[in-house]
């Protein structure tokens, strides 16, 4: 579709030399001076456009070319093609010194182009005003009244009083057509019936009159107009009221109340716009003969409800009338999924006004939060609009709509399906969904978001498969694919849990690992990989929010979930690593918030840190856990910390370290980094400094480690720097532990270490301690390495 040829054309346009450019300008100038505009002129102007638009830096056209182009633009005799070209070129060369184009004579087409160029010139208020003035003069020659009221009046005429006869066709009839058959026939509805009431955008005719075109244009812009000008200085409309002297087309049908004629223009516009929307809603019940008209009906519904919403916000007296209409509409549409997009403005309307009208809105929200996300998650537009609705209204939804808070399993479905498009919406939406009672379940749901994607995919494929392929399988059959598992009774419950609509049936399921295994054949599907890439971001958002309000109980629960799920994840490439990375950093945050959790969860932590297999599968996370133990397992953080606990941890970690540093003759290259070793050494030393009976044991171990580091087998495992690092660390720790009180100070500083006293008091300050330690270490540096 786009080729090297076009590519080189752009390049030429950008890199054209000055000399060639001037020659070209001269040629254009000459052509435009001539009377006849032929193909060569068109061609030149097209190339001129490409030259000015291809670069992002503006080019200054010579003065005479600019003048000629402006002449071309403003003359009503110019062909449309040339007007379009000159308009396009002038737009691209802004800023240029446009003469006052609005003074020129011209027809509406010219003024339209002039307006375009003026608006493109940037926000020069005077020029814009004068063009606007010119435009409005076209609408009505006399100009004494306020411009806004003028437009409002005109809009009323066009919306409500357009004719309902078809326009006379330009080329009407042939030789045999008698004048009688050229009678204008009435406008019809979209289903072919004769128009029942005033003209709207859903009225069909062979050709349209001018005011019918204006009707269509007026409705197209009414929403924006109402938003901009409805409440703007509404005081000045009623005095010089010309609205009674309308002279506009009389309405054929549907008598309007005379009292409405006495309303100021803005209020009258509101009234007429309301009637228009009412009619559109009725008209959309008809079955359109053409598919494009059926789509238009839906768009009209959305617009009509939205405009009614705006009108009701401006003037609450409309609410009762509006509700009668909207409620009936909801009743008509609620069962039909094809009209789901119209449900969103209806729900917004209920959200905004149901309190005023004391109308029960439970059913609407139930439909919205249960059916739409679970059955239509794969529609990109609807998913986006639904998410927008949730995001924009989240405060109100959280406070007054009961079902919202517990619908998050459903709310995650559009995200799971289409993560790249919706991730930024959910990053904003997620924090408002998290509360103390839902946090744990949300965490589990987020961790299994890729599983949800897989399950949704299987569900869709299953729904579109042959009925014979949907029959439940016999329990004794062994499944060979995730599709089969979906039909198998053993796995069915798990799928149903993942695909659930509402929260509250349990934070997670027992046999999650089984589910992960059976979904393994889908782990490299692009959609699931995309979801897996966005999940860590959401986890980060989750923890940031949870940290704001979590109490001790919740923090403990979160840590347990972290420990448990660090190995219980859907096996997608990189997914485990990224999630564990989030876990590592968040574990430290949680420890900082509530250091006692180490003591409170000591059993689980001991089990975790004692399992050597954890080092291989999640080394980074393991290292962080060990660090946290070393840092926070002390009496200064929790009075309940006992010597037995410290000793128990010590022994567990010692055993692990012993195991991983076994130098076996047939040793294979270890799969863990030296950082694990140094971290374990440091943590053991920290624990020992708190329970000084352990110092001899750890010192012994440390000296063993020094010999370990120097052994020939190890030198083939690690690089020289790493070995040196291990050795240095072991030496430092040994030396440090020779002075237990200093060791305690360095390895387990009390929490007051952050207070200023530590730095100002000359007896306790850190610089003093540092000096003491460095002297100690220097003194012992003559100690020969083992």
């Amino acid at each position: 579709m786009f080729t090297a040829g076009a590519e080189s054309l752009i390049k030429q346009a950008r890199e054209i030399q000055d000399e060639d450019l001037q020659k070209f300008y001269t040629r254009v100038s000459k052509l435009l001076h001539g009377k006849d505009f032929g193909n060569e002129t068109v061609d030149s102007l097209q190339r001129l456009y490409l030259i000015v638009s291809a670069t992002k830096y503006s080019r200054a056209l010579p003065e005479d070319v600019l003048q000629l182009l402006q002449d071309l633009l403003c003359s009503s005799k110019t062909a449309e093609q040339f007007q379009a070209l000159s308009c396009a070129i002038l737009r691209e060369t802004f800023p240029c010194d446009l003469r006052n184009l609005s003074d020129e004579e011209g027809n509406s087409k010219t003024i339209s182009h002039v307006a375009e160029v003026t608006l493109a010139q940037g926000s020069n208020q005077d020029k814009v005003s004068s063009v606007a003035h010119r435009v409005l003069k076209c609408l009505e020659a006399r100009q004494p009244e306020d411009q806004i009221n003028l437009v409002s009046r005109k809009l009323v005429d066009w919306l409500r009083y357009a004719s309902i006869q078809q326009g006379v066709q330009l080329s009407s009839g042939g030789f045999f057509t008698s004048p009688r058959t050229r009678q204008p026939s009435p406008i019809t509805e979209v289903d072919g019936a004769v128009a029942a009431d005033f003209f709207t955008v859903l009225s069909l005719g062979q050709s349209y009159t001018e005011d019918q075109w204006m009707n269509m244009h007026a409705f197209s812009m009414i929403r924006k107009w109402l938003l901009c000008y409805s409440t703007d200085g509404s005081g000045n409309g009623d005095t010089d009221d010309k609205s009674e002297v309308d002279g506009s087309v009389m309405s054929m049908v549907s008598a309007t109340s005379t009292s409405s004629r006495l309303l100021p223009p803005k209020e009258r516009l509101r009234e007429k716009a309301f009637e228009y929307c009412h009619r559109l809603i009725e008209q959309s019940d008809r079955k359109a003969l053409k598919k494009s008209d059926a789509e238009l009906q839906k768009a009209c519904l959305i617009e009509a409800v939205t405009v009614m919403d705006i009108i009701c916000r401006e003037d609450p007296s409309f609410v009762y009338r509006a509700f009668a209409c909207v409620k009936a509409l909801y009743g008509r549409l609620s069962g039909d999924l094809a009209f789901s997009r119209a449900l969103l403005p209806i729900a917004q309307f209920y959200l905004n006004h149901s309190e005023t009208a004391a109308v029960d809105s439970e059913a609407v929200y139930r439909q919205l939060f249960t059916r739409i996300p679970s059955e239509l998650f794969q529609e990109p537009m609807l998913a986006f609009e639904f998410t927008q609705f949730c995001r924009v209204n989240v405060k109100v939804l959280r406070e007054s709509v009961g079902i919202f808070k517990h619908s998050f399993p459903n709310l995650f479905k559009p995200l799971a399906w289409n993560s790249p498009a919706l991730i930024s919406e959910y990053v904003e939406l997620l924090p408002s969904l998290i509360g103390p009672d839902t946090a744990i379940e949300i965490l589990h749901s987020l961790l299994d978001l890729p599983c949800l994607t897989a399950a949704l995919d299987i569900q869709l494929r299953s729904a579109s498969s042959q009925p014979s392929e949907r029959v439940p399988l016999d329990p004794s059959v062994k499944v060979s694919s995730s599709m089969e598992a979906f039909r198998h009774p053993y796995y069915r419950g798990m799928f149903l849990y993942i695909l659930r609509d509402e929260a509250g049936t349990g934070d997670t399921i027992d046999r999650l690992s089984v589910l992960h295994e059976v979904l393994a054949d889908m782990a490299d599907s692009p959609r699931i990989v995309q979801c897996a890439q966005t999940t860590p971001i959401l986890l980060q958002v989750f923890f940031n929010e949870a940290a704001q309000f979590a109490d001790e109980k919740l923090i403990n629960q979160l840590v347990l979930v972290i420990l448990e799920r660090s190995s219980l994840l859907y096996d997608i490439p990189n997914y485990k690593r990224e999630v564990q990375r989030v876990f590592s950093s968040q574990l430290l945050v949680l420890c900082k918030l509530h250091p006692s959790l180490i003591v409170e969860q000591c059993k689980e932590l001991m089990e975790f840190s004692g399992t050597t297999g954890n080092i291989q599968s999640k080394e980074n996370f393991y290292t962080h856990v060990v660090w946290a133990i070393g840092e926070y397992l002390s009496v200064s953080y929790d009075k309940r910390c006992t010597v037995e606990q410290i000793t128990a941890f010590f022994e567990t970690l010692e055993a692990v370290l012993f195991e991983i540093t076994q130098v076996r003759l047939s040793a294979s290259i270890p799969t863990y980094s030296p950082r694990v070793i140094t971290m374990l050494l440091t943590t053991l030393s920290k624990l020992a400094s708190r329970s000084q009976d352990l110092i001899p044991r750890v010192s012994l171990f440390l000296s063993k480690m020094r010999s370990f580091a120097r052994s020939p087998a190890v030198s083939s495992w690690y690089s020289e720097e790493d070995i040196e690092e291990i050795h240095t660390r072991a030496s430092e720790l040994i030396n440090l532990l020779k002075l237990p009180s200093v060791a305690q100070f360095v390895l387990a500083p009390s929490t007051e270490g952050t207070s200023p006293r530590w730095h100002r008091d000359t007896n306790t300050s850190l610089p003093l301690a540092m000096r003491a330690i460095s002297k100690v270490l220097q003194r012992d540096s003559s100690f020969s390495p083992g």
Partner: protein, 201 residues
């Protein structure tokens, strides 16, 4: 109201050049009140800003479309057979929407609606609470006409770059001054007749 319309490439251009996202046509409808740029900037700065903003949109649409096609498991467009006609091409096109927050890159929040037809993208930059159903319909109609009148489906040409008057005429009728139109099939028919008459000249 629509803030802008653009046509741009989606895939790496075959025949050697890098996978730069090439913007082929942009049109602003200038519906936002621009905050005056800091004083002391060159007069062409506003235009430069607009061009850069459209580049950002085009790049984002390109990645959104690529990800969407990947997720749906569609083969790359180069390996596909060309579609039979414009109507089919637009029906089978990938479609999507995303939001641009304030400052990224426009001053206020915008919604971008895109259509990916083989290796060309058509995008509308809309206001946040636009009638997306109408915008989608309009975008599809616009894309269909662009494909037809700029000969984008046949052997590769340079019409999209040079025949800007045609694009202007299309936009002038179907999206006048950025206004989305609630046009039923009869209105569209009249507009299409006018378009055909203009193109024939």
């Amino acid at each position: 109201m629509v803030h802008g319309f653009l046509i741009h490439t989606l895939c790496p251009v075959s025949a050697g050049s890098s996978s730069v996202c090439r913007v082929l046509y942009t049109r602003f409808f200038c519906s936002e009140t621009l905050v005056p740029l800091p004083a002391g900037l060159d007069a062409g700065a506003e235009r430069l800003l607009q061009k850069e903003q459209m580049m950002v949109v085009a790049r984002q649409v390109k990645s959104a479309c690529t990800l969407s096609r990947e997720a749906a498991g569609k083969p790359p467009p180069e390996s596909c057979l060309p579609p039979l006609d414009e109507v089919v091409a637009v029906q089978e096109a990938d479609c999507g929407v995303f939001r641009l927050g304030a400052g990224e890159p426009f001053q206020v929040e915008k919604t971008v609606l895109w259509l990916g037809v083989l290796s060309l993208g058509f995008s509308l930059v809309c206001e946040p609470h636009e009638n997306l159903l109408l915008a989608e319909g309009t975008l599809r109609t616009l894309a269909r006409h662009c494909l037809e009148h700029l000969h984008l489906l046949g052997p590769p040409g340079t019409d999209v770059l040079l025949k800007v008057d045609r694009t202007e005429v299309l936009l002038d009728r179907l999206l006048p001054h950025g206004q989305l139109l609630f046009a039923n099939h009869r209105f569209i028919h009249s507009l299409e007749k006018e378009i055909a008459a203009c193109m024939a000249k």
